[in-house]
């Protein structure tokens, strides 16, 4: 078991990668074996992620050096700097990888029947597993260039999956927009990597973080990295591609795309707090994140109110919810240089923002999955054409209600626990932000109630009399996420203590991240 945990970082990346290329081979023999391979590999990866995360929280940062005689030997004998590829997992990476493992598993199970009538299913699962690889790679890598490579792996497979249903024209358009945005973002990251390499002769994040000076070139690199990752997360005003891409993808992929945007958010946090942590002009960058976060919250929700397309409506809400996370973490960043304020409310604001990522990662894919179930049954995404569907889809209705209550922050559901943490801590920073947050939350509830009414309530419509219910594997996929919501609802304090405070501390304590590579005992 100990050996397994030592090797876990590379296994978590390698298993989906190997499974991705085994899928077409086994798919030629039997469809059932192929599906079993996908599910079993993802379950095993989820198990490894949980074991690794537990170990990281108890024993501290894990380092894995590729090609070294022992994984902990980051600097080869006779060298002064790390020359090998290093994976570095601290509590923050572990936190994001837990989310990614749960959602990708739920999405794969959901896909089993959601894409059952499509052609090219084997390729779908290959791409899905590649996307899982890319996501884990982004969360685990300790290296700026590998961050770019894994970002591109996740983007290329994500773009191909959005455009997977080629019989619709709009999927091609959404996929094209996604891949264009990803290509531009990827090139910006690569350019910034080049700038940093040119100055400090290293690609390793820890070594760069130790040496960084905050020269003009460094500031350009910071701006490029932040714009690239903000664009990928769909922050207003770079959000225009976001609803187009998210609303046309198969619902399981939309759920996973939400988490890839969280992975980009992770990369942005890593850049702000770890890479530039010592030198960053924290109040300025923090205020920029806060301002754009508030704008994102407000514009996202006001655009959502008018939408008639169920997936598009949920995509705008996804944009709006991302604003809460930028707000929470932005407040933490703004007071990073002030230990007193950081202890009073900064750490709590960051924990709140990170907690909201966890909650959002559970309820937003769940809501997208229910939207996909509606599309699966009715063949339309137009809310005006739906009605009375609660008669046909009892489970989906219940799950939709859970998701709605959670996203609107109704006590006692999990969305409330994270929002109250953000509201309380941000209130001490600036009360107006809390007021805006509450208004956005009310608008969210209003629009979800409206959508609930037009899709599920009312008498059964004649055109949907003959349709079959929602297939079982789709229900199972949704129930996994709903179980996550209920678990967080029941044990919020434990979640905060076990996962969120270690994750927030990992962001604040950049010294530990650097020492894990350079080998200096603190």
């Amino acid at each position: 078991m100990a050996a397994l945990i030592t090797q876990a970082p590379i296994l978590i990346i390698a298993i989906p990668l190997v499974a991705a290329f085994l899928t077409p081979l086994i798919g030629m023999a039997s469809k059932k074996a192929r599906n079993a391979l996908v599910i079993v590999s993802l379950v095993f990866v989820a198990f490894l992620v949980f074991a690794l995360a537990r170990d990281v929280v108890i024993n501290g940062i894990h380092v894995y050096t590729l090609g070294a005689t022992s994984p902990g030997q980051t600097i080869p004998t006779g060298f002064m700097v790390p020359v090998r590829i290093i994976l570095e997992i601290d509590a923050m990476s572990a936190f994001f990888s837990i989310i990614w493992s749960i959602v990708s598993l739920a999405a794969a199970i959901y896909s089993l029947s959601h894409i059952a009538n499509e052609t090219g299913q084997t390729r779908f699962y290959t791409l899905l597993l590649l996307m899982v690889t890319g996501g884990f790679g982004m969360m685990f890598t300790g290296d700026l260039f590998n961050l770019f490579v894994f970002l591109e792996i996740a983007s290329i497979s994500g773009g191909a999956l959005i455009a997977f249903r080629t019989r619709f024209g709009d999927t091609q358009e959404g996929g094209f927009k996604y891949i264009v945005v990803s290509a531009i973002a990827g090139l910006m990251v690569l350019f910034a990597t080049g700038i940093l390499y040119g100055q400090y002769n290293s690609l390793n994040i820890a070594i760069l973080a130790q040496a960084i000076q905050y020269t003009t070139l460094d500031q350009i690199a910071l701006a490029l990295l932040l714009i690239a990752f903000a664009m990928k997360t769909g922050m207003v005003p770079l959000h225009l591609w976001f609803p187009d891409a998210y609303s046309v993808a198969p619902a399981s992929i939309t759920g996973m795309l939400v988490i890839t945007s969280h992975a980009c958010m992770y990369a942005a946090f890593r850049v702000c707090f770890t890479l530039y942590g010592a030198v960053i002009d924290a109040p300025v960058v923090g205020w920029i994140l806060i301002a754009f976060g508030l704008l994102t919250m407000f514009i996202g929700v006001t655009m959502a109110v008018f939408q008639k397309d169920v997936m598009r409506f949920m995509s705008y809400h996804a944009i709006s919810q991302l604003g809460y996370m930028w707000l929470g973490v932005g407040v933490g960043l703004a007071v990073l240089g002030n230990p007193g304020l950081l202890a009073t409310y900064g750490r709590d604001a960051m924990s709140g923002g990170i907690f909201h990522i966890l909650n959002h990662a559970m309820y937003k894919p769940l809501l997208f999955f229910t939207g996909g179930a509606l599309f699966h049954l009715t063949g339309t995404r137009d809310l005006a054409k739906m009605g009375g569907l609660a008669h046909k889809m009892k489970w989906t209705t219940i799950l939709y209600i859970i998701g709605t209550l959670s996203i609107s922050g109704i006590p006692p559901l999990n969305g409330f626990s994270s929002k109250i943490l953000i509201y309380e801590s941000v209130y001490q920073f600036n009360p107006i932000f809390t007021v805006i947050g509450i208004i956005v939350s009310i608008l969210t509830l209003a629009s979800f109630t409206k959508a609930f009414h037009s899709a599920f309530m009312g008498a059964e419509l004649p055109e949907y009399k003959g349709v079959k219910g929602v297939p079982r594997s789709m229900i199972v996929g949704m129930v996994i996420l709903a179980a996550g919501i209920i678990f967080i609802t029941l044990f919020p304090a434990q979640i905060v203590n076990w996962i969120l405070h270690p994750a927030a501390d990992a962001l604040i304590d950049r010294g530990a991240y650097i020492n894990a590579v350079t080998g200096v005992i603190p």
Partner: protein
């Protein structure tokens, strides 16, 4: 080589990037948009290779190298990887444009656009 100003390649990269941004923002044709992205990737690749160049340097092959400075091998490795990735991205974009044309009969980003609002 001694007389060539060393920042000349960087200026070329900046020029390429500026032209590609102009294309991406102002051109309506989707194929031209893809060309813009290809140019931007060339700009970044040129920047990376120029970064590792040392005046009068040799190719960094350790087994058979004459005396004198070597150019940095790492940016070249980065460039190779980046070229491979960009080939994949461009191929995927071109297939999608092909599909868009099949569905809408137009390559104009204003006319082939269905998703709005």
């Amino acid at each position: 080589m001694e007389h060539m100003p060393l920042n000349f390649p960087f200026l070329a990269a900046a020029l390429l990037a500026a032209v590609s941004f102009y294309i991406m923002i102002f051109k309506k044709n989707l194929i031209k948009l893809i060309m813009g992205i290809a140019m931007m990737s060339s700009a970044v690749n040129l920047f990376l290779v120029a970064l590792g160049y040392r005046a009068g340097g040799n190719a960094p092959i350790y087994t058979d190298v004459p005396e004198g400075p070597m150019v940095l091998p790492v940016p070249q490795a980065l460039t190779l990887t980046s070229i491979v990735i960009n080939v994949a991205v461009l191929a995927l974009m071109l297939t999608m444009v092909m599909q868009i044309y099949r569905h809408t009969g137009s390559l104009d980003s204003e006319k082939s656009r269905k998703l709005k609002g």
